[in-house]
């Protein structure tokens, strides 16, 4: 008997190959895509109520996007060779192509949009600050100091175009992460054409929830009033996307259960044993049904402001835990059963090794550190400011 193994695993399967770091990768990328889509609600779909979170959402997306490749990098056996994915990509590999999707999204969409949005302020700061700060802002202007109304009008037009391109790009970014898993035909837990679309909607859910929580927390810390119209609107959109996400996940579950192919008995057993806590308790009950109920209640009844804030914060926090559990169940769950469907292994998370819990925690803290630097450098606060035409 091998410790941690029930039944039969192919001998090389006993050891899990993708660790908690690979759980972080779709989680972080999902937050990026979701936050960006929330930002585009204001910019493209003219949902004016969420204006106070527009810049916050963009900076959240950037902070997480900068960290997104790090868990992968840390996971590689030879991180020093990772650049080969760009230099000599294997075009049939979903993973290789993701590198280009990532670069496209980072440079063409997110950095450009943030720069255009902040350009006038950067120019102003480059002219009013001194010392190292002045140097940083002058570098950020990229030599462009024209902030005449005509130049600003062009910025706005180009910014709008970038956001329009950005929406399918954000869909592509996270849909593609889903494809990396969904296209592995050897693994029935992953292999479903629904995977990209499930990943996409769960990304939107997590990104919207993250920006909502960050908006409330940052307002509290800055001791400014929370714009309840904004918060109610974000919560409403969170509810809509969550309903679609939950429907898709249930569709997948119903389909698997009804079809009950060769893998079903094995996967069903896994959900009822090794994944019971993370899938049923954390993902479905705590991370989906409770937040959905809280958000739905707000669509049906009118609560006081204080109660609404508490309900939204609870729903947002639980949603973030639930989506993390979902990523865990996909990545780790997909490796717990044997491809022979005759046995199960166990994931033993290490603590302070390269792929252990400690680096994972550090990687989850890092985006918040970057976020703090970003809001210091490019203040996102928009109280009372309407978008300039």
């Amino acid at each position: 008997m091998i410790p941690g193994v029930d039944g039969f695993m192919y001998p090389n399967e006993v050891e899990l190959q993708w660790s908690v770091l690979i759980v972080l990768y779709p989680y972080i990328t999902g937050l990026v895509a979701g936050a960006f889509i929330l930002a585009s609600l204001e910019r493209v779909f003219k949902v004016d109520a969420v204006r106070p979170t527009y810049r916050l959402a963009l900076l959240t997306a950037l902070a997480f996007l900068l960290v997104a490749p790090l868990p992968l990098q840390l996971h590689l056996g030879h991180p020093e060779r990772s650049l080969e994915m760009y230099l000599t990509p294997h075009t049939s590999s979903a993973m290789a192509m993701f590198g280009f999707v990532y670069l496209w999204y980072l440079t063409v969409v997110l950095l450009l949009e943030i720069w255009l949005e902040y350009r006038a302020e950067i120019v102003g700061l480059a002219q009013t600050t001194t010392g190292i700060t002045r140097f940083i802002y002058r570098a950020l202007t990229l030599g462009s100091y024209d902030v005449s109304p005509e130049a600003r009008r062009i910025d706005d037009k180009v910014g709008y175009a970038v956001t329009v391109i950005g929406i399918p790009s954000a869909f592509l970014l996270h849909g593609y992460v889903g494809f990396i898993f969904g296209s592995v035909k050897a693994n029935p837990w992953w292999s479903t054409p629904l995977m990209p679309i499930v990943f996409l909607f769960s990304a939107m859910v997590s990104g919207i929830a993250a920006v909502m929580v960050l908006y409330v927390v940052s307002s509290k810390l800055r001791k400014v009033a929370i714009d309840m119209r904004c918060l109610d609107t974000i919560a409403r959109y969170l509810f809509y996307t969550f309903v679609i996400d939950f429907t898709l996940e249930m569709l997948d579950l119903v389909h698997r259960t009804y079809e009950a192919d060769e893998s079903f008995r094995s996967l069903d057993f896994m959900v009822h044993t090794r994944l019971w806590f993370s899938q049923v308790i954390l993902q479905i009950i705590l991370g989906t049904l409770i937040p959905l109920a809280l958000l739905a209640a707000n669509q049906l009844w009118r609560f006081t402001e204080g109660r609404r804030k508490a309900m939204y914060m609870t729903a947002g926090g639980l949603t973030l835990i639930g989506i993390f559990a979902m990523r865990w169940n996909v990545v780790i769950g997909g490796q717990l059963f044997s491809k022979s469907f005759l046995g199960y292994t166990t994931y033993k998370m290490e603590m302070v090794t390269r792929e252990g819990l400690l680096p994972a925690i550090a990687l989850m803290v890092l985006p918040f550190v970057i976020f703090l630097v970003l809001i210091k450098l490019l203040p996102p606060w928009q109280e009372g400011k309407a978008r300039q035409a």
């Binding site: 039969f8 001998p11 190959q17 056996g77 030879h78 060779r81 990396i180 296209s183 592995v184 050897a186």
Partner: protein, 246 residues
């Protein structure tokens, strides 16, 4: 350390060659150069495994391990024992990959047989498809190989292999797998596992050689590949394979 100018030119020249033409198969597999008579385009390698002939002795596992320096606890080849009781889930075991064989079973009421496993050297290999840098590839003579000087160690190929044939080499931190003893077969030898099988249950075959016995075996026997529904064009064929085998 003193390095003569001559040494410097030698090393520099080698590096220049590697950089310009890429690593050769010999460098990848650590093999001696193939004999001059060997032409990759003339071969298409595979294997025939006769389930009824395998006695589960584990000779093949030990031979492979010693020939290829396979790290302990990992397997380029292994043997499984299936014990199937009517109406029940098969009981399968492979203690330490059958490195020391199996303890004899005294059960008369079950169908029992051994299944040697190795990389199926698929022609449409999912592992090759997913490798982000093309470090794993099908050689012109039909062997799936890993260039360990190029592999990132991302392990996407390990996930993509339906047969559990790949692992991350704990020291090299690159993916490792059966090479079909490429260093041997390109010099006219058979694989270490075939060479050491006492019953001839494993047979290295060359589908491009019209005189190879494989053609007669395929013509006159019921053969099957593992998981045919995966459509990987596996080139390891099993004679007398039970439908329960996964």
């Amino acid at each position: 350390m003193d390095i003569s100018r001559r040494d410097l030119f030698k090393v520099g020249g080698k590096l220049l060659m590697l950089a310009s033409v890429g690593a050769t198969l010999e460098q990848i597999t650590g093999a001696e150069p193939a004999s001059d008579a060997y032409n990759m385009a003339d071969h298409w390698w595979g294997m025939i495994i006769d389930i009824d002939a395998c006695i589960g002795c584990g000779n093949c596992v030990r031979a492979c391990s010693s020939e290829n320096g396979v790290p302990k606890g990992y397997f380029r080849t292994w043997v499984e024992r299936y014990q199937i009781e009517e109406g029940k889930q098969p009981r399968v075991e492979s203690p330490d990959g059958a490195m020391e064989g199996f303890t004899p079973s005294t059960r008369e009421d079950v169908k029992s047989f051994f299944v040697p496993k190795l990389c199926n050297h698929c022609a449409d290999s999912p592992c090759v498809q997913v490798c982000p840098v093309g470090a794993t590839f099908v050689s012109p003579d039909g062997v799936v190989l890993v260039d360990e000087t190029y592999c990132l160690g991302c392990r996407y190929c390990v996930q993509a292999c339906p047969y559990g044939c790949r692992y991350l080499h704990p020291q090299k931190q690159t993916v490792d797998k059966c090479t079909l003893c490429y260093h041997r077969i390109t010099r006219g030898l058979t694989t270490a596992c075939c060479e050491n099988c006492p019953t001839g249950a494993r047979l290295l075959v060359d589908f491009k050689n019209p005189k190879d016995p494989v053609h007669e075996i395929l013509r006159s026997n019921k053969v099957e590949v593992l998981k045919p529904y995966m459509a990987t064009q596996a080139k390891v064929y099993y004679k007398n394979l039970d439908g329960a085998v996964r």
